[in-house]
Amino acid sequence: MYKIMRKERLGPVVTLMDIEAPAIAAKAEPGQFIILRVDAEGERIPLTIADYDRSRGTVTIIFQIVGATTESLNRLEEGEYIQDFVGPLGRPTETEGLKKVAVVGGGVGCAIAYPVAKKLHELGCTVHSVVGFRSKDIVILEKEFEAVSDVVKKMSDDGTWGSKGLVTDALRELLESGEKYDEVITIGPLIMMKFVARLTKEFGVKTVVSMNPIMIDGTGMCGGCRLTVGGETKFACVDGPDFDGHLVDFDEAMKRGTMYREFERHAHSELCNLMNKEVR
């Protein structure tokens, strides 16, 4: 059992938790993920590590409430326990030798983009952050990004925060203005990463994307997280989750992500009904 040391609501549907897991905190690096089960009957879900505190022995996760499992997780409070918490899984994001990087985050993906930006900043790398949200009320980590970035471009779909537009609009501006990056690192919805990769290909900038496919064991045993990269099948859990964005087959990945959508929708509404009954 793993204790919830801190819980913070970052927005209406986004929550942060610090989980007590000293062995994982001691090893965790940006880009890696954990797998958790909320309770003994729960499914295993992967979540990328948002931060870690080696001295306190905690690992921070930030999740968006999208289905039954994240809903159940969000119902737990500080001092309560999560059944299973395993990691750190996957390969860390490669940061060595980078001098100037654009970090592009979208939505809750910013929770994963942030530790990467922070690490790059700590290594003395110039960091340009491009962060985008649907609207102002779901913005997270604004101050944190400002603290670790040399330039921050803020974008929102509806114009209620920063500039109106997509992260690709801001990134295009930066690239067209002559900014030269060793690498673009992008984390967010698949559709966003697909278009970021398409844009950077035009400019010939190496681009790393962080994939978050359906996964069960997370150790290379099930192969459920496979995706096509440069015509080859790769397992996100052991070969990734970071891949060359110019080689990933995003359309296939998007389809694979919808495999259980009907089931998830049903499970979520069941849980909501159950909660309503409890409330009444």
Partner: protein, 461 residues
């Protein structure tokens, strides 16, 4: 004296058309009368050919002799000397190619049903023996075991009995390895695996779940933490695919994924939090036990048609004979000498069919089996909405890539000598991580051998 007039006692089982829609155990086990009758068939051969066929050399005539005396606990103790998982092996061992293949009764009639008797004895013990296991006095020396499958459990059990303080590190949330994620409930009830694991805990073995060695700790770090020896029993690893078009369509599973969803994550139960596709028509590619398990699970989830698609002929099917027979009885359709060439998808990128080509057997290949060759122009489409690939695995790179000085084969398997010793001092390995995908009993045998080597190594250290 053996009674030569008694026929081999059949195993009572659930009816095929009942069991193919539930996940309860298929084989129900001998009654005491059946076990006594079957035990009388044993000749009690002095040279014990059956024991020679057993990878862990159980004294088979001796334990069957105890059954004849109705000393079932005594029989269990005989088996326990050599096997730490009798209730498991009695259910899943390929006896027909091991002990029973060597049985003298098999020459003129049918061999003694050794596996069924082993199961009877183990189940009797689980139901009747309540004596607390005496926990051996600790010798204060710590050994780490990576993986809680049959190799790891056996190695841990043998070392604990000798007084070592053993900790098992398991990557998943539940101990048992392939016994819990792979082999289905209807072939090996999970309650039995749990009892075996509980038995080890009673011996003082600690089980740390959610520990992915190679990520959270490396083998070197375990040794720095004071473990004087490490046994690696991390299992078969990553599922293989055929590298044919369409394998990443929705509706294509590796057998590992399909079985893990159903067995470990209980997707077969109403209300499970883990989804699995309930397909209409399923093709399972492969001919081993894993393929049979996947096919029979698919049938139980309600599929109308389930095919086994295998490129060789019936004779070469690597699965246990009993599994093949059970699968056939349950209505699984065998498409032998057929090989997939492409998986077809609809506009939603979901499986809608599988192109196959017929094969014929040519000259023997390196494995000594006749090589299947495609029959030109014989392609056809199998109408399916789900494909499960059960064509083997390749070793997980996690441990070999994080352990300095650990030598591995080109294909990734860990290299050991015949005693389970690796190229790293104090590091031993066994089971599928060394041999590639094999059987539960071979993994157990390897765990046992390694435990003996570790004991010898630490005794001389």
């Amino acid at each position: 004296m053996a009674d030569l007039t008694i026929p081999r006692q059949p195993m009572p089982s659930q009816e095929a058309d009942v069991r193919n829609s539930n996940f309860s155990e298929v084989a129900l086990g001998y009654t005491e009368e059946m076990a006594l009758a079957e035990a009388q068939r044993c000749l009690g051969c002095k040279h014990k050919p059956c024991s020679g066929g057993c990878p862990v050399q159980i004294d088979i005539p001796e334990f069957i002799g105890k059954i004849c005396e109705k000393d079932y606990e005594g029989a269990y103790q005989v088996i326990s000397r050599d096997s730490s998982l009798p209730a498991v092996c009695g259910r899943v061992c390929p006896q027909e190619t091991q002990c029973e293949a060597k049985c003298v009764r098999g020459v003129k009639s049918e061999p003694v049903a050794i596996g069924r008797l082993e199961r009877f004895v183990a189940d009797w013990h689980l139901a009747h023996a309540h004596d607390k296991v005496a926990r051996p006095a600790s010798n204060g020396r710590r050994v780490a075991v990576i993986g809680s499958g049959p190799a790891g459990l056996t190695c841990a059990g043998d070392l604990a009995k000798k007084g070592y303080e053993v900790t098992i590190f398991e990557a998943l949330h539940l101990a048992g390895g392939v016994l819990v994620y792979g082999i289905p409930e209807f072939r090996l009830p999970k309650a039995i695996v749990q009892k075996e694991v509980d038995g080890l805990k009673a011996l003082g073995v600690k089980v740390e779940t959610n520990m992915v060695v190679g990520r959270v700790f490396s083998v070197d770090e375990l040794m720095e933490q004071g473990y004087e020896a490490v046994f690696i029993g991390s299992g078969a690893g990553l599922p293989s695919f055929m590298k044919i078009p369409g394998e990443n369509l929705n509706g294509v599973y590796s057998a590992n994924e399909f079985l893990t969803r159903i067995n470990l994550m209980k997707a077969y139960r109403e209300g499970s939090a883990t989804p699995v596709q309930h397909a209409e028509k399923v093709a399972v590619v492969g001919g081993g036990n894993v393929a049979m398990d996947a096919a029979r699970c698919a049938k139980r989830l309600g599929a109308k048609e389930v095919y086994i698609v295998y490129r060789r002929s019936e004779e070469e099917l690597p699965a246990r004979r009993e599994e093949v027979e059970h699968a056939k009885e349950e209505g699984i359709i065998f498409r032998l000498l057929n090989n997939p060439v492409e998986i077809l998808g609809d506009e939603e990128l979901h499986v809608k069919g599988m192109r196959c080509i017929r094969m014929e057997l040519g000259e023997p290949d390196a494995s000594g089996r006749r090589r299947p060759v495609p029959v030109e122009g014989s392609e056809f489409t199998l109408d399916v909405d789900c494909v499960i690939m059960a064509i083997g695995t390749s070793p997980n790179p996690l441990i070999r890539s994080t352990t300095s000085g650990l030598e591995t084969q080109k294909w990734g398997g860990i290299i050991t000598d015949e005693n389970g010793k690796t190229s790293r001092e104090g590091v031993y390995a066994g089971g599928d991580a060394v041999t590639g995908a094999a059987t539960v009993i071979l993994a157990m045998g390897a765990g046992k051998t390694a435990a003996a080597s570790i004991h010898e190594y630490l005794s001389n250290k």
